[in-house]
Structure formats: structure tokens, C-alpha cells
């Protein structure tokens, strides 16, 4: 993609990001959202993150790659553990990076 197309894509991203931020403040300052919609919207972040995460750590070249040689899959476990125990975004990410860097330095032939 050339830089001009990327810029147009960014404008599109800006628009679809802004509308959900803006419209409720303009339209429903008193009305309540229906319960099913609240639950659905609350599920979306977890769902979309899982939908991006699992392929990133278990799929390689269009095929399932569940193996001890899969560095990302190995690093996912300590990252999850630190996130669960510390609830620190930065701490979890740093843990993941260190594990991946170490595995690459030490284990890769």
C-alpha cells in the first residue's frame, strides 16, 4: 500500500472510531441501553482480542502449529501468568518480550 492510500485508510479508521465515541453523548444522555446490548458490547473486546491472539500463537503459514518449537506459544504461558498475578499491562508485555528473546538466544540452534 502506498503512503497516500495508507493516509486514506487512516481517515476511514478515524471516522469509524469517532462515531461510537461521539453518538452516545449526543443521543442518549438519559436513556439506558438494553441489557443484551450492554453484555454484547462488553464481550466484544474480549472476543476480538482472543480472535486475534489465538491465530497469532497457534497458526503458522495457514496451518496449526502446536509444538514445543513454537516460541510464541511457549511465551504465551508466562505472559498469561504474569498478567493474571500482577494485572500489569507493561509487566506482562516485558515478560513476554524477555522470554521470546531468551528462547531465541538460548534454544534456537
Amino acid at each position: 500500500m502506498d503512503q497516500q492510500t495508507i493516509f486514506l485508510t487512516i481517515l476511514g479508521m478515524a471516522l469509524v472510531t469517532y462515531l461510537p465515541r461521539l453518538l452516545p453523548t449526543w443521543l442518549l444522555s438519559s436513556r439506558k441501553l438494553p441489557r443484551w446490548l450492554v453484555i454484547w458490547l462488553r464481550n466484544v473486546p474480549v472476543a476480538v482480542l482472543a480472535a486475534m491472539l489465538l491465530p497469532a500463537v497457534t497458526v503458522s503459514g495457514g496451518e496449526l502449529y502446536v509444538s514445543l518449537r513454537n516460541t510464541f506459544l511457549l511465551a504465551a504461558f508466562p505472559t498469561f501468568f504474569v498478567a493474571w498475578k500482577t494485572r500489569s499491562l507493561f509487566g506482562s508485555v516485558i515478560t513476554g518480550l524477555i522470554v521470546v528473546a531468551l528462547v531465541r538466544q538460548v534454544l534456537v540452534p
Binding site: Y18, A51, A76, T79, A83, G96
Partner: protein, 237 residues
Amino acid sequence: MTERQGSSDRSDWVSGVAAASPIVLGYLPIGMTFGVLGQNAGLSSFNIMMMSLLVYAGSAQLVAAGLLSAGASAASIILTTFVVNLRHLLLSAAVAPFLKRWNRGELAAFAYQLTDETFALHAARFPSGRYSKAEVFAVNISAQGAWLAGTGLGILLGQVISDVEPFGLDFVLPALFIALIVLQIEETSQIAVAVITGALSVALLILGVDQWNVIIATVIGATIGVALELWTNKPSS
């Protein structure tokens, strides 16, 4: 609930900037990460800064950088951004009742800088009547200022680091997703949502549904979650 007078009060601006400091500290490193990854994805410095200025949504920007380097189409990037950022609808709806006396222009400016983190801060303060406009905008402007500063530093850093693999930086995104999932889970039914959606996304990808697997799996997974929760927890509220 009386709104405090004097929106140009200097002490309100100072206390707003001070209140934003934890967000500032969090946004600097993640903004830097976006700057580095954006450059590795082939975005110009101008486009990287524009994304932080115009889109201003951390996880969506990192995801977009990943999709761009994977050669995804503009349509799938925009649609993915829409789905990733749809949660703001919920945040915006939650703070809206406190802002009834603001005019449309002020609401438009406020909504532009509404993020998960600024929402958490405002939602904790609004119920006690702390929503002077100066203070609220001081928080929001400090937060986006930190995001832009972090992005700029990341662009500079990215010019030094051309190969991210030795530092494990290509794992930033999966690691961030893991942490965000863990932090987002409030109800047990959401664990089921994460597992079902993740498995569905992998299955679709292996079956050859490239690029759209994330959106299809998300819509189905979030909907199954609604059914699960309405079915297991009888309405109480």
C-alpha cells in the same frame, strides 16, 4: 450535583494534568511501541503521527500496524478498527448522563479523546461531582499529548532498530492481547467467550477464511456470550 463555576480556573487545569499522570506514564511506552512497529510495517513518519492524532486508540493502532505489514486490504483494516473500537460505545454511554449540561461542541471535543484509561479516570470522579470542563479537558489533552510524544519517540527509536526479532518485539502484540484479555474479564461467561471466539478464529483461518476470520469469529463469539449470560444469570438488574 452542582457543576463548579469558572471553567478557566487555572488550578483546575493543574489538578487535571496531575490526575492524568498515571495515564501519561502508561501511554509513553505503548506509544513508543506503536512508533517502532508502525515504522517496521512500512508507514511514513507522517502517517504514524496522523494515526496517533486522528485515530487515537492504542490497541486498534497496533492491530492496524500488524495488518498493514501482513498486506491486508484497506476495507478489512477499517472494518477491524471499527469492531475493535466499538467498545467505546459502552464507555461513551456510561459517562453521557453526567454531561447533560455540556453543549454539542464540548461533547464532540470530549468524545474525541475518550479512551479506556481516560474513561476509567472520569468514571471514578464524575459521580462525586468532579467534572469541571477545565479539569476534564486537562486530563484528556495530557493523555493524548503523552500518546503523541510516545509515538514520536518510537519513530526516532525505530530508525535505530531495523530488526525487531532479537528483542522479541514481534511478540509485543500477542503479549499485549494476552494482558488485555486478562484485564477485561469480569464475568465467568467471558472466559467461555474468549475460548470459543479464539478457537473459531483459528478454525476459520485454517479453512482459508483469511483476514475476515477475526470479525466473523468476534460477532459469533460475542453473541454466544450474550446467550450464555442471559441463560445462566436470570435478569436481576
